[in-house]
C-alpha cells in the first residue's frame, strides 16, 4: 500500500492506494500553519500504518518564495570570466526578493563554450579567496553556476569541490547543472532560489518524517517534482526548487489515473479557481518558454495551465455571474447551505441537486439554472482554448468544486471519476521516477539521439527506476538557429516505475 498526500494552500488531501492500484481510503483536512500538522491529521485519518511508501506533493517551498519569507541569504558564484561580466547574477530580480536573497555575488574564471571547450581555466586560488569572503560574511548557502554547464559540468563540479573543502560540511552548495537547462540567467536564478530554500527544505523534510513517525509509519518518503516524477528525501533536501509546479501536475496525473485516460483535458475545480490542462501520453503538456516564478525568470518546464476565477467558493453576483471573488476556506461558514448569508457556486450546485452538501433547505428558493449554465459555458470555453485540434477530446473533472459541472457544451465525453475530490493526492501516490537530458549535441542525428536517450534512461535508473521499466516519454530536437553545422539541442525525458528495493538497498 502507498499513501499520497497533497499539501495545498487550503486543504491537505490524502489517499491510500493498494498494490493493485485501487484507492482504499481518502481524507481531506485543513492545512496547518506548520504544514506538518495537516499531514499528521491526514495520516491519522487514513489509519493505515503498513505502507510501503509515502509520497508528498507540497506548495510549501514555492509559497516561501512568493512570500519572500523563510529564505536564506545566498552567495552566488558564477564561472565564465571574461564572458558574462556584463550581466552579473541576480541582475533582473525584483528588488524586494533580491534584498532578502542576495548575500554576495562573485564572477570567477572557468566555464565552457557551446561545444565544451573551456572559456578560461578554473583558478583554484581565486575560488579559495571567494570561500574566505563567504566565510567572513557568514553565508551558509552557495549557488554555483557555470557557462554551458548543461553541456559540460566540469568547471562547476571542480569549483564545488574546492568550495566544499574550504567551507566545510555546514555550508549548502547548489550546482546549476543539476537544476536547470540551457539559458544561464534562468538556470542560475533557479539555483539561487534552491540555495535560498536549503535550510527550509531540511526543516520541512525533517518535519514530514516526524509526522510519519508519530503516525507509526515506517516507510520511505518521497516528494513530487514539477514533472510528476518522484525524488527521495535526500534529493528533496538538496533540490527543494524542483517541487515548484508539483500541485497542478499531481492533480492532472491523478485525473489520468482515476479515469484510465492518457490523452484528455483535465479540469481541476477548487475553491477559488478552475485550472485547465491537457494530458498527452499520461503527462501534462508543458508551457513553452521561460516561466516567471514570483517575478523571477526561470526555465523550469511547468504544466501549461489556464486558470479562470471559478470555484466552489465563488461568490455569485446579483447579475448571476460567478467569481472571481471567492469565500475560499470560509465556505463552511459563509455559504447559504451552511447557514451563512453569501450565495456561492456551491449553493447553486446543491439547489440543482448536483451535490448533497449542508442543508438544501436553505437554497430551495435559489434560481440556479442560468448561473450554472453560464459557469458551464465559461469552463467549456477555457477547455476549448487549451485544445490543440478539433478531434473529440474527453474531459475529466476533478477537485472538490467539480460538482458545479454537469455537462460542457461542445464536449460529449465529460467524466468525473471516483475519488475526483482527491485526484491530486492520488497523483502523488502513483508517481514514477524519471530522468531527463537537455543540452546541445553535435554529430550524426541517429547517434546523438541514441546517446541522449541512453543518458536519460541511465538517469532514471539512478534515480530509483526499476531496470527494464524505463521508457522514453518525450523527445524534442531543435537545430540551433544562425549556427552552421549540425549542433542540435536535444531534450529527452525517460520515466520508469519506482523500485523500492533499489531505494532501500
Amino acid at each position: 500500500m502507498r499513501i499520497g498526500i497533497d499539501v495545498g494552500g487550503t486543504n491537505t488531501d490524502a489517499a491510500l492506494i493498494d498494490d493493485d492500484g485501487k484507492v482504499l481510503a481518502t481524507v481531506k483536512s485543513p492545512t496547518t500553519h506548520d504544514v506538518t500538522g495537516g499531514v499528521a491529521a491526514a495520516l491519522a485519518g487514513l489509519g493505515a500504518t503498513e505502507v510501503t511508501a509515502v509520497m508528498i506533493g507540497t506548495t510549501h517551498f514555492v509559497n516561501a518564495l512568493v512570500e519572500a519569507a523563510r529564505l536564506e541569504p545566498v552567495a552566488a558564484v558564477r564561472l565564465g570570466l571574461p564572458a558574462t561580466a556584463a550581466l552579473p547574477p541576480l541582475v533582473d530580480w525584483p528588488v524586494r526578493l533580491r534584498e532578502v536573497v542576495e548575500g554576495a555575488t562573485y564572477l570567477c574564471h572557468g566555464g565552457h563554450e557551446y561545444d565544451g571547450a573551456p572559456i578560461s581555466d578554473l583558478d583554484p586560488g581565486e575560488l579559495r579567496k571567494v570561500a574566505a569572503d563567504i566565510r567572513r560574511r557568514g553565508l551558509r548557502s552557495v549557488a554555483i553556476s557555470s557557462v554551458f554547464s548543461p553541456v559540460s559540468a566540469g568547471s562547476e563540479v571542480e569549483a564545488a569541490k574546492i568550495l566544499a573543502a574550504e567551507l566545510g560540511p555546514g555550508v549548502h552548495l547548489s550546482v546549476s547543472s543539476e537544476i536547470g537547462r540551457v539559458g544561464l540567467l534562468a538556470r542560475e536564478n533557479a539555483t539561487i532560489v534552491n540555495a535560498a530554500l536549503s535550510r527550509l527544505a531540511e526543516r520541512t523534510v525533517e518535519a514530514f518524517g516526524q509526522a510519519l513517525r508519530v503516525a507509526g509509519i515506517d516507510a520511505p518518503l518521497f516528494l513530487s517534482q514539477n514533472d510528476g516524477t518522484l525524488m527521495d528525501v535526500a534529493h528533496a533536501r538538496r533540490y527543494p526548487v524542483l517541487t515548484f509546479a508539483s500541485g497542478p501536475t499531481n492533480s492532472m496525473r491523478g485525473a489520468a489515473y482515476l479515469s484510465g485516460l492518457s490523452d484528455c483535458a483535465v479540469v481541476d475545480i477548487g475553491g477559488t479557481t478552475t485550472d485547465v490542462g491537457i494530458l498527452a501520453g499520461g503527462f501534462p503538456r508543458e508551457a513553452a518558454g521561460e516561466a516567471l516564478v514570483a517575478e523571477v525568470r526561470t526555465n523550469f518546464r511547468i504544466p501549461d495551465v489556464l486558470s479562470i476565477g471559478i470555484g466552489g467558493g465563488s461568490i455569485i453576483s446579483s447579475d448571476g455571474t460567478a467569481g472571481p471573488r471567492s469565500v475560499g476556506y470560509r465556505l463552511t461558514e459563509q455559504a447559504l447551505v451552511f447557514g451563512g448569508s453569501t450565495l456561492t457556486a456551491t449553493d447553486l450546485a446543491v439547489a440543482a441537486g448536483r451535490a448533497a452538501i449542508g442543508d438544501p433547505g436553505h437554497v430551495s428558493e435559489v434560481s440556479y439554472a442560468g448561473p450554472l449554465k453560464d459557469i458551464e459555458a465559461r469552463v467549456a470555453e477555457a477547455v476549448d482554448r487549451m485544445r490543440t485540434s478539433s478531434a473529440p477530446l474527453p474531459v475529466v473533472l476533478v477537485g472538490g468544486g467539480s460538482i458545479l459541472i454537469d455537462t460542457l457544451p461542445g464536449f460529449t465525453d465529460v467524466r468525473r471519476p471516483d475519488h475526483f475530490e482527491v485526484a491530486n493526492a492520488v497523483g502523488a501516490a502513483i508517481a514514477q521516477v524519471g530522468g531527463e537530458v537537455d543540452r546541445v549535441f553535435s554529430g550524426p542525428r541517429e547517434a546523438v539521439l541514441q546517446e541522449a536517450k541512453d543518458e536519460a534512461t541511465g538517469r532514471a535508473e539512478r534515480a530509483g527506476a526499476r531496470t527494464g521499466s524505463v521508457r522514453i516519454v518525450d523527445v524534442e530536437e531543435i537545430p540551433l538557429a544562425y549556427l552552421p553545422g549540425d549542433a542540435t539541442r536535444i531534450r529527452v525525458k525517460a520515466v520508469g516505475d519506482l523500485d523500492l528495493e533499489k531505494i532501500n538497498a
Binding site: 565564465g80 571574461p82 564572458a83 578560461s120 544561464l184 482554448r385 544562425y482 549556427l483
Partner: protein
Amino acid sequence: MREITEDLLDDMARGAGILGTGGGGDPYVGKLLAREAIRRHGPVPLYSIDEVPADATVVPISTMGAPTVMLEKLPAGTEELAVLRALEAVIGRPATHIVPIEIGGMNSLIPIAAAAQAGLPLVDGDAMGRAFPEAQMVLPTLMGVRNTPMALADDKGNTLVVDAVSNHWAEKIARAACVRMGCQLSSADTVLRGSQLRDGLVPATLTLAEDLGRAVRLARAAHSSPVGAALAVLDGTELFAGKVVDVERRTTGGFARGTARLESSHGALELSFQNEHLLASRGGRTVATTPDLICVLDTESGEPVTTEALRYGLRVTVIGAPCDPRWRTPEGLELAGPRYFGYDCDYEPLAGRPS
C-alpha cells in the same frame, strides 16, 4: 533629438521581437544590456536621420552568432568598445554616431548599450527595416557601400578585422570566425557617412519598435486585441489566424530549415522558415514572401513567436507587413528575395503601404 531612457526599453524590446519576424534572437538579453549600460552611463541621445551632419561617421554595431548561445554565454561587456576601437584604428577617424544594423530582435537593443558605453549618440533607423540572417543583406550593399573593414571581437578579448573582396565574402569569413570563437561575436561594419543615411537606412525604426511595443502593451491592458494593435502600427495584413498543427525541422546546407502547418475552420496556411519566417502560402499559392515581413504572433498575447518556439498547438496569428520599397527592386530581391533562400517561387508584393 530625444533620449532613450530605461523606461522605454520594455516597449522597444517587445516591438523589436515582433519586427524580428521569428528570428533575430530574444531581445531579453539585449534589453538587460541596454538597461545596465543606461544605469551606468546615463540615457542615450537619439537623433533622427535629418539631424545627423553630412560628414558624420556612423557605425552600425551588432552581434553575430546563435541566439541560443547568447542566452547561455552572456557577453563580457567589453566587446562593443573593442570592435569600435578596432574599426576606428583602421578607418583612421573616430565614430560620431552608432546605429543598429537591423531592427529585429536583440540587435536593435545592443547598439543602445554600445552607444551608452561609448558616450555617443544613436541614429533612429537601421540598415534592413527588419531582421535578416547575413551581413551583406543590408541596404548599403544596394548602394555599393562595402561592409568592410569589418571589426569583430569575442568575449575573451580577441579581435579581428576582415578585409574582403565582396560583402558576401566578408559574411563567409566572419561566420567561420564566429564558429571558431565561440559562436558569439560583436561586429562593427558597413560604416556610413551622414550624407549616406537617407539611402542606406530605413528611417525611424527604433521609434517604430517602441510604438509597436507600446501599442501591444496598451491593447493588452485594455483587453482589446494586441494583434489588431500590431496590425495598425505596421500597416499590415492579417494573413491567417489558427493553430499550429505540424512543425517539421531539418538541417540542410548548414542552416536550420523548417515548415509549419497552421489550420483553422477557414482552411490552412503553410509557413516556411529558416532563421526567420520567410514564406507563407495557402493551397500552394504564395500569400507573402521575404523581403516583406512575416510576423507570427501569439493570438492571445500578441507576443512574437520565434521559429525556434514554433510548436504543435500554439494559437497564432500570421501577419504580413510591407518591407522597405528598396528591397522590392530586382537588386534587392536578388539579395534577400525567396530564391536567395532556396525557395522556388517569385516575390509577390504584399498589399499595404504604397511602394
